[in-house]
């Protein structure tokens, strides 16, 4: 497959310090400087970010959808990991 557009990068934005980086989309760029500049022009035209991560798309490791069931199963039956599993006397109030 001929492609002259440079590799694909996944872009993550942080709106302001203290907040998590969130995936916003992807773009093509030939190198990392261009990836960051393109990300600024493409995804932050309205002050959506004060920091950007650009990650080569081929560096991302992803779970596969066929495995959803068995892969995430172990978390399914452990209600005791949630606070509502425990009984606290009414007299104590919110805890």
């Amino acid at each position: 497959m001929k492609d002259n557009q440079g590799p694909l990068w996944e872009i993550f934005l942080q709106k302001k310090a203290g907040q998590p980086y969130v995936h916003c989309g992807s773009l093509h760029a030939y190198d990392k400087e261009m990836a960051i500049q393109n990300a600024r022009d493409l995804y932050t035209r309205r002050q959506e970010a004060t920091a950007i991560w650009a990650v080569p798309a081929n560096a991302i490791v992803a779970s596969s959808p066929e495995d959803i069931g068995p892969f995430f199963e172990p978390a399914n039956d452990k209600v005791y990991r949630h606070p509502t599993f425990y009984q606290i006397p009414d007299a104590i109030g919110p805890m």
Binding site: D3, Q5, D31, D41, R45, R46, P65
Partner: protein, 313 residues
């Protein structure tokens, strides 16, 4: 057998209003339909930069110039969001661009009409972006995840486009008699081409059935067209302009306006390459692409060379 299992899982997801993601199994025709629709949508954004680009150097004030620049820049961005959404379905950007540049792919017929006066910038924002937004608001809930996310982003950005267009219309419609005549003329020329943006009537729309079945679209061409008429008529009345369709009349029974269909023969002519500006638009895209070739080559060579140096060190 195996395919049947995947197919029923796919249909169960759609029935449940679940979203399909790139790595999920999907029928080949669903994939093809999406590639066609998303890439046409992307091409429309890119070609859509041209009719307005025509007025950037002649905008009547600095304010209107920066606004128009920002709008055209948004459209370029929207094209890029959509291309990357299409690429998640297994096509390359080069392939998509080739299809546009060789005339193999289609884009919205509306961008093959010329923008003759400044009032056209008002009518394009008000009517063309208005019609596009109506379609795009629906597509925010489309069944394919990357397309839906692109649409949500685009809708958020696009609402200024329609408002700036209507603002231009109000200035002209409440301006001098000459300005008001320009506004009326722009409405006359852009109304029916805008009505065509929703596609052929439901009875003659070859792609609608699958699009609805797969929840790619959630409303039909005629339903969206009716909504657009209902939204636009009162806005034209406010401006004191006359709708260029004598059949527009409130219909109490359907709680909507009756209207005339656009000329579908003209529509077919324009999408098959014979509109007033088809050749000019494609020539402009090809020129921009070819003029930029040296930049792509230089950037690519520079990145390769630096990688070699980095790896050697």
């Amino acid at each position: 057998m195996e395919n049947n299992k995947f197919e029923s899982q796919f249909e169960a997801k759609l029935a449940n209003n679940d979203v399909i993601e790139p790595k999920d199994w999907m029928p080949e025709n669903y994939r093809k339909h999406l590639i066609r629709q998303i890439s046409q949508h992307a091409h429309s954004e890119i070609v859509g930069m041209l009719p307005e680009g025509n007025w950037i150097t002649r905008a009547p004030s600095l304010r209107s110039k920066v606004v128009l620049l920002a709008k055209v820049q948004d459209e370029g961005g929207h094209g890029l969001y959509l291309y990357t959404a299409a690429e998640t379905l297994g096509v390359s950007r080069d392939e998509l661009l080739d299809n546009l540049l060789t005339g193999k792919a289609k884009y919205s017929s509306i961008f093959n009409y010329p923008t003759l006066t400044w009032a056209d910038m008002g009518a394009v924002g008000w009517l063309v972006d208005g019609a596009a937004i109506m379609n795009q608001v629906m597509l925010q809930r489309t069944s394919y995840g990357p397309y839906s996310r692109a649409m949500i982003r685009i809708c958020k950005e696009e609402s200024f486009h329609q408002r700036q267009g209507y603002e231009i219309m109000t200035r002209m419609a409440f301006g001098t008699p000459e300005q008001k005549a320009m506004a009326q003329d722009a409405l006359n020329r852009w109304w029916f081409p805008s009505m065509m943006m929703f596609g052929p009537p439901d009875a003659e729309s070859p792609n609608s059935e699958n699009a609805l079945k797969w929840r790619i679209k959630r409303e039909t061409n005629d339903q969206l067209r009716q909504k657009f008429v209902n939204q636009t008529v009162p806005q034209a009345e406010y401006l004191g302009l006359t709708m260029p369709d004598p059949n527009i009349k409130w219909n109490e029974d359907k709680k909507g306006y009756d209207y005339s269909d656009p000329d579908w023969t003209e529509f077919k002519n324009v999408i098959s390459g014979n509109g007033p500006c088809n050749k000019e638009r494609l020539a402009a895209r090809n020129k921009a692409h070819n003029d930029g070739a040296w930049v792509r080559e230089a950037a690519n060579a520079f990145a390769k060379k630096r990688k070699e140096v980095y790896e050697a060190a």
